[in-house]
């Protein structure tokens, strides 16, 4: 690998100020992504940030890279197409818990099975922010929201367990209150070959009055501080992924080396699809036509 030339944060300064509420956890994520890209020295032109729809999904507009602000729940699919179209690009997906674990959970699970080289940062605020405060798939039981005035009656999604079950090869959790730590995790995910999930506790200061900064601050601890923790051991990973309540782990949960989907594609061996000449050579074309005789 070539030596990395780190890039300063301003490299990625976006065209407009974020439209998030003051104090929104997403500011921390934006910063951490910039830090991660900078540390890895990824040029803005080589980075595509793909999002869905939601407060969190507005992120591509606030950073100086390529971006697709796609449809609610479809970011992972769009990003997969981009990656397969040009695998020289670094493709980072950003979005919310509703976007990724609610409407988009099918793409999420199937993308992990594929182990495409994508980095997925989910700004998990346990609420639907942009639509003004309904329950999300990570909303905890009994929490009252605009759509659950009697308390949420569903078990929250456990994204980390889903990720382990479905074949993601890099699984981490960050917290907006720890942007430096998060930046490390995101950088690790981008550098990792394969599907990387970074679930981030990114508090919604406007609509989630339960899972606030203090709530998380009191509870989170870093896996890295536990010397016995082995992110290659699935059993340990599952154990920690189930931990919730007074103590909630953040950090790198799991990492595995597996071939990526791109590795399996013969068409990608000679370079990105987007750079290949169009059309068929005469021999191939003639051979194809001959099959019809």
């Amino acid at each position: 690998m070539a030596t990395v030339i780190e890039l300063p944060l301003e490299t990625y300064a976006g065209p407009v100020e974020p439209d998030w509420c003051p104090g929104c956890g997403d500011f921390g994520v934006l910063k951490a992504i910039k830090m991660a890209a900078g540390r890895l020295g990824v040029a803005p032109k080589d980075l595509v940030i793909v999002s869905g729809i939601g407060c969190s999904s507005n992120l591509p507009g606030f950073i100086h890279t390529y971006g697709v602000h796609s449809l609610h729940g479809r970011a992972v699919a769009v990003a997969s197409g981009i990656k397969l179209g040009n695998h020289d690009l670094k493709v980072v997906i950003t979005g919310g818990d509703g976007d990724g674990y609610g409407i988009g959970v099918g793409h999420f699970i199937h993308a992990m099975r594929r182990n495409l080289d994508l980095t997925y940062v989910v700004m998990d605020n346990e609420i639907y922010g942009l639509t003004t405060g309904q329950a999300s798939p990570t909303t905890m039981r009994d929490i009252r929201t605009k759509s659950t005035p009697r308390g949420c009656a569903e078990t929250p999604i456990n994204p980390l367990m889903l990720a382990v079950s479905s074949g993601a090869t890099y699984i981490a959790r960050g917290f907006s209150g720890e942007p430096n730590h998060m930046a490390e995790l995101i950088a690790g995910g981008i550098a990792h070959r394969g599907f990387a999930l970074i679930d981030v506790f990114s508090p919604c200061v406007t609509y989630n009055k339960v899972n606030t900064y203090p709530w998380f601050k009191q509870r989170v601890y870093k896996l890295e501080q536990d010397k016995g923790y082995d992110p290659h051991n699935v059993h340990q990973v599952l154990e920690r992924a189930m931990e919730w309540g007074d103590r909630i782990p953040i950090g790198l949960f799991y990492k595995a080396d597996q071939p990526t989907y791109e590795d399996s594609e013969p068409a990608l061996k000679i370079g990105p699809l987007a750079h290949q000449p169009l059309g068929l050579d005469g021999t191939t074309f003639d051979a194809f036509v001959e099959e019809f005789y």
Binding site: I53, V78, I82, Y293
Partner: protein, 659 residues
């Protein structure tokens, strides 16, 4: 006679495709033309499959009206199709297993019962499907076709299974051929074998080949009849053509991935049928909004909903036109025949990239799945590839504006990875740079201007599409109108009508959107009487035509029973219309037999069949009521009577003989 239709009937799993294929290749290689249509069901084994292969000295454009020879691979096929054979024709079957009640045969139709086991007893162990090859051999003789060419085809087909299999098959073929030669007279076909070899392929194959020829490098799909064959072709040719073929988890992923690849600068296509397309519509609107190219193939099948998945229809026009919310630029193209599938796919890629928008190819089961011979030159590698301008860098003179307002509405496209052209492609509406105008910085005038910018592109698109043309007489009394796959069958019907002295011409539409309103109206205003022919219930195209031009066709000929038009359907209905005879929705005698089959198979089992049909007094509201004798298959003994049509249509009463 220089035109023949052969029908091969059996069940799924009876191996009819191989037999049909061998017949077709044989004909295509000696210079004959072909059109085949396979009527099948959504079942893996069993059901009733009915393959028709029409062979002609000249180009044939449908599976035709007349059945000359039947190869029946089971008893059902004997019974159901023997009555349909035209005088002079034959019914070929394995006499060891099946029999043909003489009463079923029309005048001057003969049976060709093949003593398969005695013919093949010296060949060692044979399998049931080998009866097919014997029958094929007999057929070749009866049609005056060369068994040698066919033997060659079998050789190529079975070569991968080893010499022994090839030899066995050729022996089976010749056994049938020789047996027929010894015992029967040929049908009296008069062929001139031009020797021109012609490719023989389906619409789906033409679309696939068109795609890779045009430089398609990404194809995503989720299996769905009748579009799956594109997936199968693409994936089996992926390595050689350098295409990434991705089967996805659902159609939402399919289309979103294709759009992602298109955005990244790859020619990307995806394909599905109506139900899958329904799931794609939201993303098609996205492609319109972010101005990403993508080609979407919608192969229609019988709807609504899951419908009749292995049957044809042109019923998704409303859906394709109405795809996604709001107004956005796009094109909809309906290829008119197999050759046109190749051409249209190339065109779709060019339009989608030049105008940075989604292009939808709308085909149907008939067009996509039926094979026909086309002229050798029609498939060419030399297709135009027009990508539109792609900015390969930016000198920094002003900010790069991905969505710049330009006179023609086409803004400079830049691909991710390019220096200096960074931007966000957003589905929220945005300004010229791509900055949202939906959140903090809302701006009605910018919204107005950017919507106008996007839609402006449609003017150019329309200008480059060829306008519709009137075909045939310029001053006809009747104009047959159609769209998409029905072009050929309408042409044949028009010829039949002309032969009956009707002064008829044709107006066929391939470009559905944008629409040549002016040119179409100019033609339509000159038409004296218009009849629109289409394969759906509500005359969706006639409505579309009225929506685009204000012109209302005088009459419609509609079919929505799942089977494609045969020329005579159109001819007869057109004559009825011209003679002022109203269309009747009554159940006909033939239909009552088909309904009886359904009742028998669902309620009485395999051992019965309908025999004679008689019409009794009408029901309360003037519709016919049919009574059918149901007999046992083996003895022909009557087991009961089935009454059809008591209440409007098919209500049946079953009266067993000995209750």
């Amino acid at each position: 006679m220089n035109e023949i239709t052969v029908g091969i009937g059996g069940a799924a799993g009876d191996g009819m495709d191989k037999t049909g294929d061998a017949l077709a290749k044989t004909c295509a290689r000696v210079g004959l033309h072909l059109f085949a249509y396979n009527s099948y069901q959504s079942v893996i084994r069993g059901g009733h499959i009915w393959l028709r292969v029409r062979i002609g000295q000249e180009k044939v454009r449908s599976h035709g009206d007349t059945l000359h020879a039947v190869i029946a691979l089971n008893q059902d096929a004997v019974e159901r199709h023997a009555p349909e054979v035209s005088p002079g024709g034959v019914v070929i079957f394995n006499a060891d297993k099946f029999h043909c009640d003489i009463a079923l045969l029309p005048d001057n139709v003969v049976t060709v019962p093949l003593p398969v086991s005695s013919l093949t007893k010296t060949f060692g162990k044979t399998l049931p499907v080998m009866q097919n090859t014997v029958a094929l051999g007999a057929l070749l003789f009866l049609l005056g076709l060369d068994s040698g060419v066919c033997a060659q085809v079998l050789d190529e087909t079975f070569r991968h299974k080893g010499r022994d299999v090839v030899d066995l098959n050729v022996k089976l073929l010749m056994a049938g051929y020789d047996h027929a030669k010894a015992n029967f007279v040929p049908l009296g076909t008069e062929w001139t074998f031009s020797g021109t070899r012609r490719p023989f392929l389906t619409g789906n194959e033409a679309i696939s080949l068109g795609a890779v020829t045009a430089g398609c490098k990404f194809y995503s799909a989720y299996p769905m009849t009748p579009a799956s064959a594109i997936l199968h072709w693409m994936v089996s040719h992926a390595e050689k053509s350098g295409v990434v073929v991705k089967q996805c988890e659902d159609e939402l992923a399919v289309v979103n991935m294709a759009i992602g690849a298109g955005y990244a600068g790859v020619r990307a296509m995806c394909g599905t049928s109506g139900g899958g397309f329904a799931l794609m519509t939201e993303a098609i609107g996205m492609a319109g909004m972010i101005e990403a190219p993508v080609v979407v193939v919608e192969v229609q099948r019988g709807g609504p909903s899951t419908g009749i998945p292995t049957k044809t229809e042109q019923g998704d026009l409303n859906q394709v036109f109405g795809a996604s919310q709001g107004d956005y630029p796009r094109a909809i193209i309906a290829p008119v025949d197999v050759e046109d599938c190749f051409r249209s796919t190339v065109e779709a890629f060019n339009l989608s990239e030049k105008y940075q928008m989604p292009v939808i190819l709308i085909s149907d089961l008939l067009l996509s799945e039926h094979p026909e011979t086309i002229e050798p030159g029609a498939l060419t590698r030399e297709v135009p590839i027009e990508r539109g301008e792609i900015v390969r860098g930016w000198n920094g003179d002003g900010k790069f504006k991905r969505y710049a307002f330009t006179r023609d509405g086409i803004s400079p496209r830049a691909l991710p990875g390019t220096e200096g052209t960074l931007h966000v492609a957003a589905t929220d509406d945005h300004d010229e740079e791509g900055i949202l105008i939906s959140d903090v910085f809302t701006s009605p005038p910018i919204r107005r201007k950017i919507q106008e910018k996007r839609m402006k592109k449609m003017t150019l698109v329309l200008a480059e599409l060829p306008p519709p043309e009137l075909e045939g007489l310029q001053d006809a009394d009747v104009t047959l109108i159609g769209w998409g796959s029905t072009k050929g069958v309408i042409q044949e019907a028009a010829e039949q009508l002309a032969a009956k002295g009707i002064r008829v011409n044709r107006l066929h539409f391939k470009y559905i959107h944008p629409f040549h309103t002016k040119e179409a109206l100019e033609i339509l205003r000159r038409c004296k009487r218009t009849i629109c022919v289409e394969v759906n219930y509500t005359a969706q195209f006639a409505r579309h035509l009225r929506a685009e031009t204000g012109y209302s066709v005088h009459d419609s000929i509609l079919k929505y029973d799942g089977e494609p038009f045969e020329p005579h359907h159109i001819t007869e209905e057109a004559l009825a219309i011209l003679e002022g005879r109203p269309r009747s929705l009554d159940v006909t005698e033939a239909e009552s037999r088909e309904m009886a089959y359904h009742y028998i198979r669902t309620h009485l089992g395999e051992s019965a069949r309908p025999a004679s049909v008689r019409r009794v007094e009408a029901n309360g509201y003037g519709e016919p009521v049919w009574v059918l004798d149901i007999v046992t298959r083996d003895t022909g003994a009557k087991t009961g009577e089935l009454t059809i049509g008591v209440e409007t249509g098919s209500t049946y009463n079953w009266q067993p003989v000995n209750p």
